[in-house]
Structures are given as structure tokens and as C-alpha cells.
Subunit: 109 residues, 2 copies
DNA sequence: CCGTATCCTGGCGGATACTG
DNA sequence: CAGTATCCGCCAGGATACGG
């Protein structure tokens, strides 16, 4: 936590904060990642239950985006009935400090 | 940064991460706060220019929300033409660590 | 200069039904 | 079980004009 200065974007180079938000900034992504940080490996249906209010479609879309961004890995087990599990990549796990800070701050409300 | 465990909400107690996001989670709030963290004290018009793409209406709405949440202070100088300045409260300044982490992560993209 | 008042639109995301 | 397909409602937020 030493000597990191915040900065806006300059014309040409985009602000890294904006870049990060572009990936994890939509309504549900934060909470999906929270669940994955806590539970490690989670099935689709578990996420659906845990994230109260989310629709299967939205969950599906958000998970694919996160997969495409290299935050999440999707593993399919060829069983019947099918089983699919989601886990964070290393890049995804590195988000944990953000969530810690977010929680610390949120607790003071 | 020791021994903070993440957690979801339990029925009754809301997840602090969700609580935090409820306050600073909308599209522009992150970037408004970023600017205030960097510049300290900023006028309405400066924010309007700095946050490229935001409309005056939206900026106004977001600033009032932040004021109501105790993140931002609004100071009016009774001059002609009028001058209005925005600054972070202590609670607002405590958000800095979140932004640091967000930047650190964003830089690796 | 600092906003508010109006009007309007795009797209996020909910609900539901259906398939491999 | 794990999604996809379809339809649709809603509102965050843009554009603009105007007032104190």
C-alpha cells in the first residue's frame, strides 16, 4: 500500500480505474465475484440461488463476460445431469483486496 | 490488511459490500470520487469538463446523492457569478484505499 | 457560473418457456 | 441441471433550453 498515486486518463492512455470498472463495474459482477471469492468453486444453480433477484439469463451473460475477460474459468463435467463449475483465475483472485477494502468501508455505514 | 473475511449478507443483516455499492456503485460515482480524491476541491464546471460525457443533470443528481450520503460537502460562495465547490468528507476520503486497489488491478490489464 | 426542468431513448436486465 | 430464446418494461442518463 505504498506510494500509489491516483490518476485520471490522459488523452490516449485510459485511466486504469475506468479500465477496471469496464470489466467488473456492472450491476451484478461485483456480487458474482464476491461469491466466488468466498466459496471458491460454485455451480451455476448455486449462484442463481445465492444472488437473490438475478435472472438466469443475466447470470449467464455476466459469467461469459467474466470468462472472456479472464476473471473466471468455466469447467463442464460431462455427466447427466450436467454439472458446470465456476472458479476465479489468478487475475480474478487478485481482486480480493478491492473487496476487502470495500467491506471495511461498508461496515462503517 | 490482516484478517478481514469476506461475507455475504444473512437474512436480516445486509452484506456490507452491497451496502457500499448501494452508495458508490452507480455509473459515474466512482469517477466523481476519483476526481475529488485527486484534486481535493473542485468546482461544478471542472467536474463537468473532466468527466467527459456526463450531462449536467446527471452530475447534479449524483453529487446530491453523495452529499446526502455524507461523502461530499458542497460549499456555495455568494459571489457573482456564483461559485460552488465540492470536497470529500472524511468518510469520503476513506474510500481512497479502494481506489488504490482498483488502480493497481486495472494497471495489469 | 451553476445548476434545474423537460423530454426522450437505449439497453440492462426481469419473467418465462423451452432444450440438450 | 444448466443454460438459451424471446419478449418486454423500466429507468439511468443524454440533449437541450432555460432560470437565479
Amino acid at each position: 500500500m505504498e506510494e500509489v498515486k491516483l490518476s485520471k486518463g490522459t488523452p490516449g492512455t485510459k485511466c486504469p480505474i475506468e479500465a477496471a470498472l469496464g470489466i467488473i463495474g456492472s450491476k451484478w459482477t461485483f456480487l458474482i465475484i464476491r461469491d466466488l471469492l468466498i466459496d471458491g468453486t460454485v455451480r451455476f444453480g448455486e449462484l442463481l440461488k445465492s444472488l437473490e433477484g438475478i435472472s438466469p439469463k443475466t447470470l449467464s451473460v455476466r459469467l461469459r463476460e467474466l470468462e472472456e475477460s479472464g476473471i473466471v474459468v468455466r469447467t463442464v463435467y460431462p455427466e447427466v445431469p450436467p454439472r458446470v463449475e465456476y472458479t476465479l483465475t489468478d487475475k480474478g483472485k487478485q481482486l480480493e483486496s478491492i473487496f476487502i477494502e470495500l467491506k471495511v468501508w461498508g461496515l462503517k455505514l
